[in-house]
């Protein structure tokens, strides 16, 4: 009997080993905020994928914010790029190396043309990506400047949604008297001021053609147009529109501050809508759906004196998944399967319905969208023109000093001219390398 048990155990072990050997292991580095609405639904989808594909051993590693970039940078430096990776279309943090060294495949050569035709032209526009290939398939087209307005609060104080900067500035004393911040911009993480506000200011006052000219060495950041944009940013603090304390406020602290009525406006990316809508796993929302409908609007930044691109806002192709360029055979097939599942109707509809983003997939019919999600595409329609997001258009050695400089301007320790000068020196070094 003992011998029989031993033989059966050995057979089971060998069978299990053989089954494991048949499985294709897929390492997937994924990015999602576990505290945001839609996290539970997202995880349920991956479980569904695993159940439907028993031949794939999906090893999914989830990280968020800087922890993600640090881990991916470490993987890249160790020569262990994950099989499937969440990435940015531009040289943002860890994605810079993926683009520079072409560590991911061109998805135009991997995904079937029939599948790609379901996506908007903006998503398939490779000029939006640093290496001018479809390194990742943008899941959304991101408006990095979105002003969230608490119109209910404004109404209660007899104020209206501002159309011009003068309107915005005029409401500062009234809001301040009630202990309410006018425009919140939590910039402790350095990138929000550049990505969510200054890119739009630069687009309005200097324009994309100016940035292109600087990159070609035909204009300088020290030219009047760009210094004026920095000076306007400085004015926001001098006029009390933005509170100096925001410079050191963590990015994650913004939604709570705004939802609790401590700021009349917050400038953020469109992706932040997900922070306010109902988390279906808990049934809780930072802003109740009824209030979203009645008291909150998504608007563009008001008209800036001297702007040449009226009602423009910074926008860029969104994040998405990329595939390690070295994959072949069964691994490549498994990775393709994963991408087609993620970009499939069911997954993308879920993402839209849970407030994560408005997908670039064009054949979706979401149901039960919360008011802020419904208002998002309406906001996009009000934007007359999209302009560069500077961390997507400039070299990291140039936009990093800008991120630092915007903090310096906010704190009053640097002047617009000084920041422009530092940026130009960095740009000169980039041009010299070329």
């Amino acid at each position: 009997m003992k011998r029989l048990t031993l033989i059966l155990a050995l057979v089971a072990l060998v069978a299990a080993g053989a089954m494991a050997a048949d499985k294709t292991t897929l390492k997937f580095l994924y990015y999602i905020d576990a505290t945001q609405a839609g996290y539970a639904e997202d995880q349920a989808m991956w479980q569904k994928f695993q159940a439907a594909n028993p031949d794939i051993d999906l090893q999914i590693e989830i990280l968020f914010s800087q922890a993600y970039h640090q881990k991916l940078s470490a993987y890249i430096s160790a020569g262990q790029v994950p099989d499937v990776v969440y990435m940015w279309p531009t040289s943002r943090d860890s994605s810079a190396l993926l683009h520079d060294q072409r560590l991911v495949a061109d998805l135009r050569q991997v995904l079937p043309a029939d599948f790609l035709k379901n996506f908007s032209a903006q998503a398939l526009d490779v000029t939006q990506q640093t290496d001018k290939r479809l390194a990742e398939l943008p899941q959304s087209f991101t408006f990095t400047t979105t002003v969230y307005a608490n119109v209910g609060l404004l109404k209660s104080l007899g104020l209206k949604v501002p159309k011009t900067y003068a309107d915005l500035k005029a409401m500062v004393p009234k809001l301040k008297a009630k202990g309410i911040q006018t425009l919140a911009l939590p910039d402790g993480d350095k990138w929000p001021a550049q990505s969510c506000l200054f890119s739009t200011i630069s687009g309005r006052l200097a324009g994309d053609e100016f940035i292109d000219a600087v990159k070609a060495g035909k204009a300088k950041f020290t030219d009047k147009a760009f210094v004026d944009a920095l000076a306007f940013y400085s004015k926001l603090y001098a006029d009390g529109v933005i509170d100096k304390a925001d410079v050191s406020m963590g990015y994650g602290d913004g939604p709570g501050l705004f939802a609790s009525g401590k700021a009349a406006f917050i400038v953020d990316g469109d992706w932040r809508v997900g922070a306010y809508v109902t988390d279906k796993s808990t049934g809780k929302a930072l802003i109740d759906p009824a209030k979203q409908a009645s008291d909150f609007e998504l608007i563009n930044f008001p008209a800036i004196p001297g702007e040449k691109n009226h009602n423009s806002a910074s926008a860029i192709a969104g994040v998405g998944l990329g595939i390690n360029k070295d994959l072949t055979g069964a691994k490549l097939e498994a990775a393709k399967k994963l991408l087609m599942f993620y970009y499939g109707k069911e997954f993308q509809t879920m993402k839209w319905e849970t407030g994560a983003f408005v997908p670039t997939r064009t054949d979706l019919t979401p149901k039960g969208l919360e008011p802020l999600m419904v208002k998002l595409p309406l906001y996009y329609k009000t934007v007359a023109k999209t302009t560069y997001v500077l961390d997507g258009a400039l070299d990291p050695t140039v936009f990093n000093p800008l991120n630092d400089g915007l903090q310096g301007i906010g704190l009053g320790t640097q002047t617009p001219a000084q920041v422009a000068d530092i940026m130009q020196k960095a740009q000169d070094a980039v041009l010299a390398k070329k």
């Binding site: 940078s73 860890s94 190396l97 410079v247």
Partner: protein, 374 residues
């Protein structure tokens, strides 16, 4: 029965047989990364597979030149030196003095004091960093306390103005402007007419002066903000304070443990001969502990140049890099923004080089003073 080794060759073979495994392990774990770090700092390697990936070559001292020309590097080094100074000239003397007070029973409940002072050293520095960040934040505990005082002072002045009645005349508004913070008035293009208009259209009346008082405090009272935390050098003060608070207890324990090894009869004899407590400390305790003090200084220097977690949790090196130290500078170059691995390795080698220099200086001073490292 143990057989003696037969000849020198056999002794040598036995020696290598025992030493080789540990030596190989040492080379792999310690020496190889150091050599690799040197190679990378001299290369143009930019991530990916080291062999079989993008080609890379040795390009010389480019990264070190880049470091020398980067003001952020020198700022980080200066901030590191502040940490070294507060550690060597703060933690060690204070730890020594507290240990002496407890050892000589000059203070009561010595064991209790030891425990209290050592507690910060056993709590995660990340937790401590976050806790102190909340204290020094622009809307944190310190700012709340300071603003509480500002509010009280302004409210008293406002009550004095209101004692004359709530009549929104030019004179009344002029009095409000006179007690207001000049910075707060910057939100108005023309303070007197604008403020008057705001009061007249704000629905304020004499029956609800509490609302008026509340709003005027928000609008016109001086606001204390910890601006010093954004100024170079000054921004390091809270970090130095927390560093001192955090690690002094560790040196207290180290010195106290070693003081207990000193023969108490020597101290008793000195006291009977009329030596004061200060003379006992200076002529008996310090010379006996000179080696321990030198070792503590070496630990302090090495730890200070490596400091990362506490500052990262408190400020992440910001705002505007004013609290950046070398380890954060290295980390940001390796993992944030546009990763530059050769530069990050050059920074790490610089940290090692500075450590050697400072430790060398410490040992030199210690030898000059006649002590010896234990």
């Amino acid at each position: 029965m143990v057989l003696p080794l037969r000849n020198k060759a056999e002794t040598s073979r036995a020696y290598w047989a025992f030493v080789t495994p540990a030596f190989v392990l040492y080379l792999l774990v310690f020496a190889f990364p150091i050599v690799l770090s040197v190679v990378l700092s001299l290369s143009n390697y930019n991530g990916g597979k080291m062999f079989g990936g993008e080609p890379w070559t040795i390009v010389g001292f480019q990264q070190f030149e880049k470091l020398a020309g980067d003001p952020n590097f020198w700022l980080a080094l200066k901030n590191n030196l502040y940490i070294v100074l507060i550690s060597v000239f703060g933690q060690i003397p204070l730890g020594f003095l507290l240990a002496y007070l407890i050892y000589r029973k000059i203070v009561k409940w010595g064991e209790g004091w030891q425990a209290i002072l050592y507690i910060p050293a056993i709590i995660s520095v990340i937790v401590l960093g976050i806790m102190w960040k909340l204290v020094f934040a622009s809307n944190g505990l310190l700012a709340d306390m300071m603003n509480g005082m500002e509010t009280n002072a302004f409210t008293a002045a406002l009550n004095h103005v209101l004692a004359g009645g709530f009549n929104v005349t030019d004179d009344f508004v002029r009095q409000l402007v006179s007690i207001a913070d000049p910075k707060a008035l910057q939100t108005f293009a023309n303070p007197i007419p604008d403020l008057k208009d705001l009061i007249l259209t704000g629905g304020y009346d004499a029956a609800h002066l509490d609302i008026f008082r509340h709003d005027m405090v928000n609008l016109l009272a001086p606001k204390w903000t910890p601006d010093f935390l954004s100024q170079q050098d000054v921004a390091m003060i809270p970090i130095m304070f927390v560093t001192l608070w955090c690690w002094t207890g560790m040196y207290l324990i180290l010195f106290h443990a070693n003081m207990q090894k000193i023969d108490s009869q020597i101290i008793e004899a000195a006291r009977i001969d009329g030596a004061t407590e200060f003379q006992v400390m200076k002529n008996i305790i310090v010379p006996n502990l000179s080696g321990v003090i030198a070792n503590a200084a070496i630990l302090c220097i090495a730890g200070s140049l490596n400091t990362f977690a506490l500052i990262w949790a408190m400020t992440e090196g910001g705002p505007m890099n004013v609290t950046q130290v070398l380890a954060i500078y290295m980390y940001q170059n390796a993992f944030i923004g546009a990763p530059n691995f050769p530069l990050a390795n050059a920074v790490s080698l610089s940290i090692v080089a500075f450590s050697f220099v400072l430790i060398g200086v410490t040992l030199f001073i210690e030898r000059k003073m006649g002590g010896k490292v234990e």
